[in-house]
């Protein structure tokens, strides 16, 4: 596709439920990032992939968060045993280059609400 596609757009989960968020980056983009954004705040870094390798997962809040990109294209962010503090918008971004200097293309995000 022409842009970064994320699904679902909205997800309501009961506390304790597992969820999986999908990201389809722009074809050929080497770098893929996941960010978490609270309402009205700047996105916070979660994890970074270069092709299929997860090179930085320093932003993942706990071991309940897991991300993968097995074939270097589509990525999935999984949250196990969701808690209310996990409620946020999860943004995926991709970039053609390894350097952040060229900017990212973001998807529209998945809004997760844990009830």
């Amino acid at each position: 596709g022409a842009g970064v596609s994320q699904s679902p757009r909205y997800k309501v989960a009961k506390r304790g439920q597992d969820v999986a968020l999908r990201c389809d980056p722009i074809s050929g983009h080497v770098s893929l990032f996941w960010y978490q954004q609270a309402l009205g705040q700047g996105p916070e870094f979660l994890t970074y992939f270069q092709n299929e390798a997860q090179l930085d997962k320093s932003g993942l809040p706990s071991d309940r968060f897991f991300a993968e990109r097995p074939e270097g294209s589509v990525s999935t962010l999984k949250i196990q045993r969701t808690q209310q503090e996990d409620s946020a918008v999860y943004l995926c971004a991709s970039s053609l280059d390894y350097s952040p200097n060229y900017g990212y293309t973001f998807g529209s995000g998945t809004r997760l609400t844990v009830v």
Binding site: G42, E44, F45, Y98, P100
Partner: protein
């Protein structure tokens, strides 16, 4: 932890007014980018500045990167209602030479009233 602070946090102005948004840090960045985000959408890149002291103009928007590459400003001339949105600065952070990521600022919510 590298932190980018933006000011002001909120700004409500009338159409036609000028405004400046500031992005400050104690850390040096490889680049500084500005994004605009509308409700329900992801951030959209406006500009990237990579050289200390660099100034870039994009129609009514002027972006400046500080000489020491720790801060930046965004100036909008004659604001229009279409400029309404969340403005985000982001610093490029080299990480051990193997990974790179953007650290985002705290955000400035701009509302331009007709």
């Amino acid at each position: 932890t590298q932190l980018l602070e933006q000011s002001p946090q909120f700004l409500s102005i009338q159409e036609g007014e000028n405004l400046t948004v500031y992005c400050n840090s104690s850390s040096v960045f490889s680049s500084l980018q500005w994004y605009r985000q509308e409700p329900g959408e992801g951030p959209v890149l406006l500009v990237t500045v990579v050289t200390g002291g660099e100034v870039k103009k994009l129609k009514r928007l002027t972006f400046q990167f500080g000489d020491a590459r720790k801060d930046s400003s965004l100036h909008i001339t004659a604001a229009q209602t279409g400029d309404t949105g969340l403005y985000l600065c982001a610093g490029g952070v080299p990480y051990g030479g193997a990974t790179n990521k953007l650290i985002f600022g705290t955000g400035t919510l701009l509302a331009v009233q007709p």
